[in-house]
């Protein structure tokens, strides 16, 4: 009788131990599945999720999860490929457009010299202006595609951001005069050093300032803080909160046909992000505020 009792106890203990082991193994497998799923998605990896478990349900779960993640990754890849193809096509087209445009400009120049009636000269002037406009558009398109694609890499170095900003503002001095805008500028005297690409910075500032020059209702403020935050402000009655948020979208222009492609601010945003910074716009009380942080 005693023996039977002891056997029963021993059996029960073994059973408990076995179940405890099973639980521990299952929990380990769950942890492994979670970790591997995270890594798979983060790295867009092809490797299947495979925990150290022989349990049928665990394996089915892993297989199912792997399949789902593979689909997500494939979709991502397809999108990126399509995007890349588009950007490459734009780059190629803009590159290829340069040659015939230069050709056309050259011939137009020759035509000018070959003695024309005043009417013909008038028409020619228009043609030359249009060619110049197309050239500018092509250059902007090319700049955008280079900026947006990964092939335009930054030449990084220590740059005094304040100095670059000052330079950019100086370049637009004539444009400000023409529009009758007196910019209010407050930039710290000391150097504000950052690791950045000087040309990219110049381009970013240039695009933002030229945008302000073109669209401001009459004033323009630049304020830079030492923590490398720059605020560009101007009066803009034509905007509202919604359109302010969309300013940096590709091809978005508030008023079409003023000769802008809508790419200027988009380029600025792409380049800023490439340098590891952030840019945003807000609108309140009739004033537009662009904030740039590096």
């Amino acid at each position: 009788m005693q023996i039977a009792l002891w056997c029963a106890v021993a059996l029960l203990i073994l059973l408990c131990l076995g179940l405890a082991c099973k639980i521990i193994l299952l929990r380990t497998a769950m942890r492994q599945i979670r970790e591997q799923a995270d890594e798979k998605l983060a790295g867009a990896s092809n490797v299947p999720i495979a925990p150290d478990s022989a349990d049928g349900e665990v394996r089915r779960l892993s297989a199912g999860l792997t399949h789902m993640l593979d689909e997500v990754i494939a979709l991502g890849r397809k999108y990126r490929e399509g995007d890349l193809e588009l950007k490459r096509a734009i780059t190629n087209v803009s590159h290829d457009l340069r040659t015939p445009l230069t050709s056309a400009a050259g011939y137009a120049g020759l035509l000018k010299k070959s003695g024309l009636s005043s009417k013909q000269e008038e028409y020619l002037a228009v043609i030359e202006e249009r060619i110049a406009a197309m050239k500018k558009l092509t250059d902007e398109l090319l700049a955008y595609s280079v900026a947006a694609s990964d092939e335009g890499s930054a030449a990084l170095g220590e740059v005094d951001v304040a100095a670059v900003l000052e330079d950019s503002l100086t370049q637009f001095y004539a444009a400000f005069e023409e529009r009758g805008i007196s910019p209010v500028i407050s930039i710290p005297q000391e150097k504000v050093m950052r690791i950045a690409d000087k040309d990219m910075l110049a381009r970013i500032f240039g695009n933002i300032i030229s945008n302000a020059v073109r669209y401001s209702d009459g004033d323009f403020c630049v304020h830079m803080e030492k923590g490398c935050e720059i605020f560009f402000e101007n009066a803009a009655a034509a905007l509202d909160e919604v359109s302010a948020a969309r300013l940096f979208d590709r091809f978005y222009t508030v008023e079409n046909g003023r000769g802008s492609t809508g790419l200027g601010l988009s380029i600025a945003k792409t380049l800023t992000e490439k340098l590891g910074g952030s840019i945003g716009a807000s609108w309140s009380g009739g004033r537009l505020r662009i904030r740039l942080r590096l």
Binding site: E39, S45, V47, P48, A50, T102, G106
Partner: protein
């Protein structure tokens, strides 16, 4: 750009001679990286170091963002499929059994084996033991074994060695398909540049253990294309002059001062035409090479 593999001054010294001498290479995600070098230049040794088969003497490498001495390096290795020197095949097993062993070691699903065998063209082998395979079939089995774990990086050491021309084409097609459809990065070594040129998107040239140059396929092509590169005082009127006076249609205006002319150009006529058009010809550079020539120039032409 995401780098799948980078090495930083990786070095391996065998008996006082550096088999791998401070190699710093960069393999981008999605590349087919052609590792070119003569026999004994160190290609296989570099691959062995990266795969963890041999210990390094100096430097380091980073695989999928994990350094070689980090804890996560084994997890990173899991994403690699490789064939070093010869495919690893058990001669006494059938093709399917060979893949089953590999599946078990990696924890991969055996259900994919049939599809994989079809993918590499070994579906009809049935119960044939691997010792009865031809060399081409064994290579393909090796590639299948490397693919079993659904890798993100394939490291192939001269995979077309000993294959007949048809086999070479089949392997090439397979690799291109894998790269395109599954986004698998490929690091492939060879001493035959002509073969790689149809496949690679980036090149690394290695000689006497040192990485001499790294270049993208496009740059290589541009470097080898027969062309004349001219520097002039201004490029505005160039197209007119090229088209009218010289009958050239294949050219590219690079900037306000430089242009490339492709194809055969008679330099004398070019200079005269430019002078007549009032453009100063500042510099002329001729380029004409095939890939082998490029490589030989690179490594100094010693034989």
């Amino acid at each position: 750009m995401e780098y799948v593999l980078t090495t930083q001054n990786l070095t391996k010294i065998y008996r006082h001679a550096a088999a791998v001498d401070r190699v710093s290479m960069h393999v981008r995600r999605g590349d087919i990286y052609g590792f070119v070098g003569r026999n004994g230049a160190g290609k296989t040794t570099v691959m062995r170091l990266i795969c963890g088969l041999a210990g390094k003497s100096g430097g380091s490498y980073t695989l999928f963002g994990k350094r070689d001495d980090a804890r996560g390096i084994d997890a990173a290795r899991r994403r690699v499929g490789a064939i070093i020197e010869a495919p690893s095949v058990f001669p006494e097993y059938t093709a399917r059994e060979n893949l089953q062993v590999q599946c078990a070691a990696l924890g991969a699903e055996e259900g994919n084996i049939t599809a994989l065998l079809e993918y590499v063209g070994l579906a009809e082998t049935g119960r044939k033991k691997a010792r009865n395979f031809s060399l081409g079939m064994r290579q393909r089995l090796g590639i299948a074994a490397a693919l079993v774990g659904s890798p993100d990086l394939l490291i192939l050491d001269e995979p077309t060695n000993g294959l007949d021309p048809q086999g070479i084409v089949e392997v090439r097609e397979l690799l291109l398909r894998l790269n395109r459809e599954k986004g698998i990065t490929v690091l492939i070594s060879s001493h035959i540049l002509g073969e790689l040129s149809k496949l690679a998107t980036a090149y690394g040239f290695i000689e006497k253990g040192a990485l001499v140059k790294e270049i993208s396929a496009r740059e290589l092509e541009d470097a080898c294309r027969k062309s004349v590169h001219i520097t002039v005082s201004e490029t505005e009127k160039l197209p007119y002059i090229f088209e009218r006076s010289l009958g050239l249609t294949e050219f590219k205006i690079l900037s306000a001062a430089e242009a490339d002319i492709y194809g055969d150009v008679k330099i004398g006529q070019l200079a005269l035409a430019l002078h007549a058009g009032g453009i100063e010809l500042l510099r002329v550079q001729e380029k004409d090479e095939d890939l082998e020539g490029y490589f030989i120039n690179l490594v100094g032409g010693e034989r």
